[in-house]
Subunit: 393 residues, 4 copies
């Protein structure tokens, strides 16, 4: 039956997360251990310890490894609360790409792989990387353009290629790498995922990209694989199933981005609302001028609708649906609507909005890539259209 | 717990309504008994009989009078299904203003009033009118400008004034009239609702307005009250509580508009989708050009979000909340988003879209007033903004 | 040198047209000789006589036939002034399709054809038709799908096919018909334009379409050509050059639509502005609430930009440029922006906006097809994109 | 007569500027002498020397001081060409606030003041500051809230107050300061502009703000005036006329922002177009997918319309009009439309768009404040609305 109420457990947990973020994490937002390439590992570890102490670490992770084992709806409300601070997701260990990698490893990794990487990942002890996108015309929106190869040599695979926009590379421990696989005769075996050590011989970080956003520890790198040799125990799942696993990872990963950014947009909206109440111009508080008031109204509406969309897709995933249409639609909607919320919030703040005197300026920069990663709006709209056209009348 | 599943009863009922609309009502869409001022009473009665025979009449009405007694969530899914045809709501007796009047009478009328008007209304035997808006600078978005007066004379009240945009006046049986009440000395007693017979001496329909839309039986009239005298048994509820009752009526009434128009927008989208699959241009089906495909994708997203919004507010109302903020936000969103859906659908149809060869042209005209009635977007946004600003930080 | 001043002649002419429209034509807007399929011929002739008497008939027509012989910039300012009333273009004989046909005949017709058809057309004595679009998957946005054929038989051509959305057919005298031409052996000779009498044997009007708009005399028809035989003197220009001539007609025709609709949008804006000054709500004139005031501001801006765009393309055409990119861009912009202006104007009027108590309701219906005819926005955007991509870097 | 052609001089000059920017300035875009608070003075001087050598320095400045003495239309085409590089305006000495200050000093300063400050300013030897906006609820969109005071003491004035968002303070030579003036008895004399040395006793730069944009040398500062004493020769113009002079400065200053950002948006569009031609996805160049192609089309249209708007207002200013309505409308339009162009360009670049591998990321950050400074869109829309409402019918 249609129901929008949280369970008592969910309500209590959300309240604890909100309090934790407000009291423990927001005060760290101006911590100097942050730069254009994100928060330092020391800051991350400090926050993770706080979350562990508060019993809030890895709400999405399996209980056996110390996570809270929430379903998608539980994640929806908790991640939104965590997203209130740009540092919140990092503190709770639910930041991309680690959060999506947790899900992927839980679904696909072997018991030995889980013990080795999933366990410390859920415990917040290591960070991980996901290497898919390629520079110079390689794999991006269209993964069929993938150029990185893994060639079978004996029982091993030798990986060659370049990847970029690889989030969190410096400081991470393990790299989930997608490559076009060939057998020893060069025959195409499809895409496969490999677990590659960050210090594997032949692997190198070529450069850290300077980007608009700055909330990922380690930033975004361009990396190279030069004859990186891995054994068969480094195959994640099965050979040739890489794209299938990418889908397993992607639908919920898209949605968790929406959850976190919902929290961030709410924060921006709250700051703008507060300012609109206090700042006077032309004889009244600026919020009472409809020009500003209507922006607040549209923010509130966009935020409310994004939440409903997230809850709906989360419920579908919890029912076992892949929710591919819905996660595409809602990813487009949330990335665009929440982007508008942040843009309006900045606008309401006027000159202050473009300074880092509030966190809105940071959220404004950080949220822009959301319309691009995990599928730009254009690619999703194209996929949605094909789904619609392909439906039986 | 967050849940988006329908009950078995809801699912079964929706399926029956969909089938009924498709098989019994859609074929009547080109019935000649329709004109610029809406479907004729004979056509309405014919459809009502069909709905009665199908056991689908008055899904919102109390069971004691033959309605199905649905809660708001049940109404949400049924009204959407009925809205598929511009004639569907009339057939099921859930068209404005009758549907909102049913709700109002159920909540506020005396037992005798219910017996006299609610009963035949739920049975589809009579139509009703709601007279609030005034011409020439009187009550509209700002009800405080109301000029129609009801002056106490003995035990009776004498009503004088003009109203306009009064939907369904010709052919209706009873008129719920809002007037500024004065006691015999002229002292203001606040606004009161009166139940006025359509053939009451002194009442007259001055003209039927020519309007963009044409789906209301009787069209929209300008009416005059000239010394219309009513007894105390014609007071709806209590003297001076008119605006309070208007709020009782309005929040769900806004939402049921959303429900019906959701169905209509889905119809337009379905027709456009079908055309986009078949119509060829520049070497492929036009839907496969992203210019058209993206419009389909945005339609699908807007439709999905409107449904979630409606369900959410319906759930709140079912929990006893007034949901004033939510019904304002969602009324704005639905009226604008569903308007866009219909506009895009028309655009996809190209030249055919501006003809009545499909029902999209009619829906395009009929849906435009939705951004205006029951509060224009601007008035709602203003109210939403004040709610936001007034919240404790 | 960049200059936005009108010549003295232009200024004087505009003033005269404005006065003429205001005093002679606006009073006819409620003339009962108008219906869903446009103004009656008697009304048209009456208005044409008024324009002739005022020395304002056919400002675009060649002087030798009694026109004013304006260049495109002169047309821009005069047509805008005429568009102030939905009847203005008809009065001045500058309504589509006659206006575009005048241009086409002037550029392509033989002296004999000009004498026979251009002369009375410029004099306002006859109306003409342009038959391009086809029903049921034929020629539309993609003219290559044309199914109407003209087969050579002896010196004559026999035309077979159907056309629709043919504006102004009933009451017109001559029909410019585009057909795929074949020689007597069936070999494709390309598209050709023919001048076909409206009473030619084999030609019939199948039905008048019911459309959203109602400002074209005769409405929009579906017509049939069944073995319609025409002699070689009925070929317009040369065999096989039909599409080339269509381009000759289209670029300025697109722009003149913009000019006329600019005037109409200004009218809607003026009515909304006047209302926003007078109508009170919540303690002040509604225009002083920013919600309404901002709509007025955006109207003013859109109107101003459309005028600049029109003047720019008119200047280019006057210099001999085809201005294909510009007329595409500005057609998209004007059809969308002026549509927004009218939509906002209607919204400002509130409930009155959906009635025909003001002319805004009519303009709202009439302007919607502008985003579709002469190339829907999607087809123009596609063409613009290809132009951009094809440019040397 | 309506004319959109450049004079031969303008065309030749534009060509020289384009070449200069492309060959001399674009190569400096990655010069390391730039940081979050803008290009270093050394870099600025180097570029100014290049512009001087090319005969292109200070195209807006009076000829007697070595400028080119262009009118607004000349500035329009030259500034657009200079805006192609984020460093272009600095190189040509036409960056805000210096460019607007040049205009202000030329119009208002005394001969002695001109000799002292305008001359070196036009020669590119000094930078200047304009101090209007105040922190903490002082003067901003509503200048009537100004708190900074200048109190008459003998013949001098003693300035006290704080200002912020003061562009270019570190490294500048002279500060044009707006203050509320009082005579020695405390009587309000209205706002006055003063020329204050950057090393005046009592003046201090409190901090450099961290901002989204980074193209202003010196960044944006918060500054304090503590009993800063200036003599009467430091009054700019007359006492009490500060706001009037601000208007003199503002109308053209708004427009020159539009000119420069037009060039920047064209650059972003060109980079996106080039990428859209080359980058393959799903079987073709991404520009040939309409999703991307339509963005290019809208970019092209927005750019074209902004140029027409700028030319129109420039022409009006050249005719002696204040063009207050037009500069307000076009500032709103250009800031929003060019912002969209840059946003779409970034989106087309996908992942690369958020990196500084192209200059688009920088333009994206730098252009956002344009919707805020010199009057946020909301304040301009409010002013435009009042102008419309105040017009005689």
């Amino acid at each position: 039956m249609i129901d929008f109420s949280l369970t008592d457990e969910q309500s209590a947990l959300v309240k604890r997360v909100e309090e934790f973020i407000r009291e423990e994490i927001v005060p760290l937002e101006r911590d100097p251990r942050q730069g254009p390439h994100g928060p330092a590992e020391a800051l991350r570890r400090e926050m993770v310890e706080k979350a562990r102490a508060a019993g809030l670490l890895s709400p999405h992770g399996p209980k056996e490894y110390g996570g809270l084992g929430l379903n998608l709806r539980g994640m929806a409300v908790v991640f939104e609360a965590a997203g209130w601070s740009p540092l919140g997701p990092l503190a709770l260990n639910i930041q991309a790409p680690d959060e999506g990698n947790t899900n992927l490893l839980e679904k696909v990794a072997s018991p030995a792989q889980k013990e080795k990487w999933l366990k410390p990942l859920v415990r917040g002890e290591i960070r991980t990387v996901f290497s898919m996108t390629e520079p110079d015309g390689g794999a991006g929106s269209d993964p069929s353009l993938m150029r990185t190869t893994a060639r079978r040599v004996g029982d091993d695979y030798v990986i060659n290629g370049r990847k970029w926009l690889i989030t969190g590379a410096p400081g991470a421990s393990i790299n989930i790498v997608m490559a076009r696989t060939e057998d020893s005769s060069g025959k195409d075996l499809g895409a496969t995922m490999f677990l590659v050590d960050m210090d594997a011989p032949g692997f190198s970080i070529k450069r850290i990209l300077n980007t608009l956003d700055s909330n990922s520890p380690g930033g975004h790198a361009e990396v190279e694989f030069h004859d990186v040799r891995v054994g068969p125990e480094r195959i994640l799942g099965e050979v040739g199933k890489g794209f299938r696993y990418a889908q397993v990872r992607l639908a919920p990963a898209r949605l968790t981005h929406c959850m976190r950014w919902l929290g961030a947009a709410r924060r921006a909206h709250a700051i703008a609302t507060d300012y609109a109440r206090k700042r006077q111009a032309f004889g009244r508080a600026i919020g009472e001028h409809q020009g500003v008031g209507f922006m607040l109204a549209d923010n509130e509406t966009d935020i409310g609708l994004c939440r409903l969309a997230i809850w709906h897709a989360a419920w579908m995933l919890d029912q076992g649906s892949q929710a591919r249409l819905e996660t595409s639609m809602y990813k487009v909607y949330c990335s665009e609507a929440l982007g508008r919320v942040v843009d309006r919030s900045l606008q309401i703040l006027g000159g202050m909005g473009i300074t880092d005197d509030t966190v809105v300026e940071r959220i404004y920069r950080d949220i822009r890539p959301f319309r691009i990663y995990d599928g730009p709006s254009e690619v999703h709209r194209f996929a949605i259209a094909r789904t619609i056209l392909g439906r039986a009348k």
